[in-house]
Symmetry: C2
Subunit: 292 residues, 2 copies
């Protein structure tokens, strides 16, 4: 058994080599971390609760990686570059090796995106992680979810339902499933955000389900959408449009910017409704993840 | 029973009137909030877990107020001005009125310090709040905990042990105790931080216990201290020097800056040891709050 101080030390130096390049003049170890940047800063927090955001038998490495990855997806949705993160961990576990494994997973994603851990909190309690992420714009522009324009194409970049399939395969103990990674180690679409930031009109990440998040983006933009279900790349079946955890970006672009490396799934309409059409006879309603 | 979306709406507009004055160009409602400031930004996160940071029978108003207040104390310790906060709430409660009361307490402190809520997360799970706070310097200088100088006076601003007495009185159902507020609604010492920032050499907030936090500050400064226990203002008995939750500031100042509105409790020494002396015969060791 280790002291709180010893456990904190396991995390304290993650990504310390990136402080300077990312404008961090004080990392963990004081009452606050300090950013010194002349650019705007974007920030978001995402919590990961055992048995809700990850199964209780997930490895500590995956739990750590995933907690930070899902938060970084919000930075991707803004078309921004991640620069740092904090991690608050409540855990009932007293075994030091568990924390070392958790820190290994956190370090994997920190190195992937060259971002340092700049602070956090460690308390005893039911397992609950909160990742706070920070980013700066790649360009002058920051992507918002409320600027979709009538006539824009609605796009995604990959098949929906991959994470749901990954979770199902995990539960069913299919250890060699290619989808496990989609669920356990989602890869935030930072590159995609960077690529579309200058011509996309609006963007959101798909965490609660493609349709539920698309609905939020269109609602924020005071627009509707005509969605062709036949054009949505799915993994298992059409219900995948309501599966959460994909962490893709759903974005709107002017027609003339369309590139067939994206999947066009519909168009933005003037009225506030979302209409789902299908020649294949798909019949499905919009449903998002509901915590309460 | 309310949807997650309806519950989020209860919090979304807290302090919205302060966005502009505090450099926030996007508040809650997008994937990230956006700061646009040309100054450094300080940030910290503090978690509040039921039965560890607050008793399970505390009112939702006090739970909300306290969660943000204790995090703001870290901004005070940096000699900075709070500008915004985010709040991540995991809760098993489905009763909307509980969230409204929680939001009332959060709003009380948001108004007190003129800071808006800029984001957060709401998930189902064991009760756990994470407050993320942001600040900017009052002056050019930011206070650190690692700059205490040999010969500096070590000071605090109020009696230690008040919060511990408040918690004891709460547990013993002494509803008219003047100390309840010290525990349930600690008042972050932002004004004190502002007053001392330009001449204090180092500062830390006292959350884990006066002696434990003083020890951290001296260790970070690679210094020791000679502490006169007789000079420490206490509430109940000398063990108060190890009581947590006071959220006062403990700071070091050059001798010639001493002002008797502060309590001088000792001096910074060159060696790394902390020596406790007493003519009254006090005999007590340093002990901090240990989560694990």
């Amino acid at each position: 058994m280790s002291s709180e101080f010893e456990l904190i030390e396991i995390f304290q130096h993650i990504g310390a080599e990136y402080y300077k390049q990312n404008g961090i003049i004080t990392g963990p170890g004081d009452d606050c971390a300090i950013f010194d940047l002349k650019t705007p800063i974007v920030t978001s927090v995402d919590s990961s609760v055992e048995n809700i955001h990850f199964p209780s038998n997930a490895s500590p490495e995956d739990i750590g990686y995933r907690a930070v990855a899902v938060a970084l997806s919000d930075i991707a949705a803004m078309g921004c570059k991640p620069i740092a993160f904090s991690l608050s961990v409540s855990s009932p576990i007293i075994n030091e090796s568990w924390y070392k494994k958790l820190a290994d997973g956190v370090e994997d994603i920190a190195k992937e995106f060259e971002i340092p851990l700049i602070g956090g909190d460690l308390t005893k309690g039911p397992l609950n992680l909160n990742a706070i992420v920070f980013g700066t714009p790649f360009s002058e522009k920051i992507l918002m979810r409320n600027k979709a324009q009538t006539g824009d194409y609605i796009c995604i970049s990959s098949s929906t339902g991959r994470a749901k399939k990954g979770l199902d395969d995990w539960i069913n103990n299919k250890k060699d499933s290619e989808y496990l990674t989609d669920y356990l180690r989602p890869f935030p679409k930072i590159e995609l955000g960077k690529n579309i930031v200058n011509f996309a009109s609006a963007c959101i990440d798909t965490s609660d389900g493609l349709m539920a998040d698309l609905e939020k983006m269109l609602k924020a933009s005071k627009r509707g959408g005509l969605i062709n279900l036949d054009d949505i790349p799915i993994t298992t079946d059409i219900n995948d449009i309501n599966s959460g955890d994909d962490y893709d970006l759903c974005f709107t672009i002017p027609k003339d910017k369309f590139d067939n490396k994206f999947f066009k799934i519909g168009e933005v309409t003037e009225d506030l409704e979302i209409k789902l059409i299908s020649d294949k006879g798909y019949d499905v309603a919009i449903r998002g993840y509901e915590h309460f």
